[in-house]
């Protein structure tokens, strides 16, 4: 069953040089209990996509298109409706647990305030439920953790607390924006395992945003790759990672440390991602693409379905040939 259906989403931000589209005509969907990974370099519009679902776009940001959540249109909802949905139906964890928790409020306050507001819980009931949550996310000694301030925990522990906060009102969808980027590599795996385990236990849908494809391979059911605010490729995780079809996805996967052979330098994609407000026309990747042809700079770029659920936005489709040969 489809839980979240985003179609034709465009997010416009105010920049110093005028309005610019940070997300352009993005469409994707997410089923109940599914984990979707959105990948791309910084500035590709991943976070703005997440924030537009939450109704938390930055100052003077606007979203258009359609975001359908649980059968209801969300985009353009009143402030009140968004407020009832946030934290309760959809919750979010952020990139840097060092700054995303309030430094002056106790863990108990931060963990229980939205339960008390959304679910009208008593203080003691909320506290009970907070203790269970801290146990779920494997915080040792939950009772004393509740009395502590975030500064008394390490980054990994703080991110676990943030996850507990996000789970407090039993939302249907959890959006995790680069949940492991700010953490030590050794801690990352634990957080990812925790997210996976929570999905299995609670049948929660998770949308995980990352620039690290390695994070996605072990965790996700579906992957969407973004470049300059648009989708370049999407499909089932295993299929897409083993058989990327867009030159950009190819480049990203080839740049993963594990993909290079021993004794060779890591491969990288030449050039820099374009800046907001300065996206090239047509396929925004064409100036950096080794397969680019004249038609690549002419909009619109249409989707090409490669196999069931797997599509790319590339008019050249340079790897179609060897796909045929292989199969």
């Amino acid at each position: 069953m489809t839980l979240l259906n985003v179609s034709d989403l465009t997010v416009t931000l105010a920049t110093s040089t005028g309005d610019a589209d940070a997300v352009r005509n993005l469409s994707f969907s997410l089923d109940g209990g599914e984990i979707l990974g959105i990948a791309g370099e910084s500035g590709s519009g991943k976070t703005m996509t997440a924030l537009s679902i939450m109704g938390l776009l930055p100052y003077k940001g606007k979203a258009s298109g359609s975001i359908n959540f649980d059968g209801k249109e969300v985009l353009g909802s009143s402030k009140k409706k968004y407020q009832h949905m946030r934290g309760k139906e959809i919750s979010m964890i952020f990139q840097d647990p060092m700054t995303s928790l309030h430094p002056m409020l106790t863990v108990q306050t931060q963990l229980t305030e939205h339960m008390r507001y959304h679910d009208k819980m008593s203080k003691s009931a909320a506290r009970e439920s907070a203790l269970k949550l801290l146990d779920t996310v494997k915080i040792p000694d939950p009772a004393s953790a509740l009395r502590a301030h975030p500064s008394q925990f390490s980054g990994g522990m703080r991110q676990r607390i943030a996850i507990a906060m996000a789970l407090a009102c039993e939302p249907k969808l959890l959006i995790a924006d680069e949940p492991t980027t700010a953490l030590d590599v050794t801690v990352q795996a634990g957080i990812l395992r925790l997210l996976h385990q929570i999905r299995d236990e609670r049948n929660l849908s998770i949308m995980i945003i990352t620039h690290d494809l390695g994070v996605l391979s072990s965790l996700t059911d579906k992957i969407l790759i973004m470049y300059a605010g648009s989708e370049v490729e999407s499909g089932p995780a295993r299929e897409l990672l083993s058989n990327p079809r867009h030159p950009y996805s190819q480049g990203l996967i080839a740049a993963l440390p594990g993909a290079s052979r021993e004794g060779k330098f890591l491969t990288s994609i030449d050039g820099m991602p374009p800046e907001l407000g300065n996206f090239p026309s047509g396929c925004a990747f064409h100036p950096r693409c080794g397969f680019a042809e004249d038609r690549c700079s002419v909009p619109p770029i249409d989707a090409t379905v490669v196999s069931k659920g797997h599509r790319i936005y590339c008019p050249v489709n340079p790897f179609a040939h060897d796909r045929v040969e292989q199969s």
């Binding site: 939450m54 938390l56 100052y59 402030k79 968004y82 407020q83 009832h84 949905m85 946030r86 934290g87 309760k88 919750s91 979010m92 952020f94 840097d96 700054t99 995303s100 928790l101 309030h102 430094p103 002056m104 409020l105 306050t109 305030e113 939205h114 507001y117 959304h118 301030h149 500064s151 943030a162 906060m165 407090a168 009102c169």
Partner: protein
């Protein structure tokens, strides 16, 4: 720094501990040293100022009589060398004796007891109005950033900090007294009215303590206009500061987290934004209050308010050394006390600071 070995464990924690009480004790001890330092600076400055206190306080004919001059000098200790004068002053000070004023011929301590509460009364009202209104207006301003309410508030707060105090005072007096007739006039009470028995020296409080509500309400009606005029500048400063501070806090990740939890905006503002913003606001409010005391000279002159500002002015004109010293000490004490209060409030608002000395 190593702890001094003669201290017993109990006194040691009192002096070196990280709790609130040791912190306050340490700060009070520092304050004593600071005040002594201030007496030295104030004393030196008054010695450097050209001018002869004898000439300023004796009439033309008395000044030409060497006997009277010698007697005057002897009476006020002015015949002693400067360093002896200073040591005598500090010695007297430690016994609570601030000397005799050259101009009023009364003990300075007595003068201060009379004049300081008058200023304290309008300054307290002013800082209360400025703080409450300033935080509310500044927060509204930040939340409606660039929209109409913000623009209106910004115009007013900019006007508040830009207008010279004497001009505000004269204009307010002209409008509310001459034109509208709302303000009762100058002074602290109606001419000839009996002041309430002195407890705090603040007429409103004293009248209430005395159960005399008529005098209390009269005192309020007299102090309102000077207090509000005094508040204008601080209100402007606090409003602008609150706006900037709230806007800065609003950009923090933890505010986005609070919003992502679906908390109503008023809870986000009150619990997650204003608390950290108050840290910054309290600092500026402490400074604003202390400078209100010092800056009330012009307002007190316009409203004939018999406060510290007027006393300071008279002492300075009369080269009244003990008077000047008394005023500087009391202003310095207020500054030190406000700083201490600010630091204590910091620790109350932000519990993490309790670990630091």
């Amino acid at each position: 720094m190593k702890p001094v070995p003669v201290l017993t464990p109990v006194t040691k924690t009192l002096f070196t501990g990280t709790g609130l009480t040791p912190f306050i004790i340490r700060r009070l001890l520092t304050a004593v040293v600071l005040i002594l330092g201030i007496t030295f600076i104030a004393f030196s400055v008054t010695q450097l100022v050209p001018g002869d206190p004898v000439a300023a306080n004796l009439g033309q004919s008395a000044y030409s009589d060497p006997d009277i001059v010698a007697a005057f000098k002897a009476e006020y200790g002015l015949d002693q060398p400067v360093h002896i004068q200073y040591i005598t002053y500090v010695g007297n000070l430690l016994q609570g004796n601030l000397g005799i004023s050259l101009s009023s011929k009364r003990p300075v301590a007595e003068d201060l007891r009379e004049f300081f509460p008058a200023t304290l009364e309008i300054a307290l009202v002013a800082v209360f109005v400025a703080l409450v209104l300033g935080v509310i207006l500044g927060t509204i301003s930040a939340m409606t950033r660039d929209r109409l309410p913000d623009q209106i508030i910004r115009v007013f707060s900019l006007t508040g900090v830009s207008m010279p105090v004497f001009w505000t005072a004269l204009t307010a007096f002209y409008i509310f007294f001459f034109v509208l007739g709302w303000a009762p006039g100058t002074g602290r009470l109606e001419p000839g009215a009996e002041p309430p028995p002195q407890v705090t020296g603040m007429y409103t409080v004293d009248a209430l303590l005395d159960g005399d509500f008529a005098t209390a309400s009269q005192a309020v009606s007299y102090l309102l206009l000077p207090a509000l005029v005094l508040a204008v500048f601080a209100l402007g400063v606090i409003t602008r500061f609150t706006r900037a501070s709230v806007l800065e806090i609003l950009g923090n990740d933890y505010v986005r987290t609070a919003r992502s939890k679906g908390l109503p905006e008023r809870v986000v503002i009150r619990r997650h934004v204003l608390r950290p913003a108050l840290l910054a606001i309290i600092t500026i409010a402490g400074v604003a209050f202390a400078s209100l005391l010092a800056g009330s000279v012009l307002i007190e002159n316009v409203f004939s308010w018999p406060g510290l500002g007027q006393y300071a002015y008279k002492s300075a004109v009369g080269l009244d050394l003990p008077g000047i010293m008394g005023v500087s000490m009391i202003v310095a004490t207020v500054f030190i006390f406000m700083n201490l209060l600010v630091d204590v409030l910091y620790r109350v608002i932000d519990p993490q600071m309790k670990d630091s000395k």
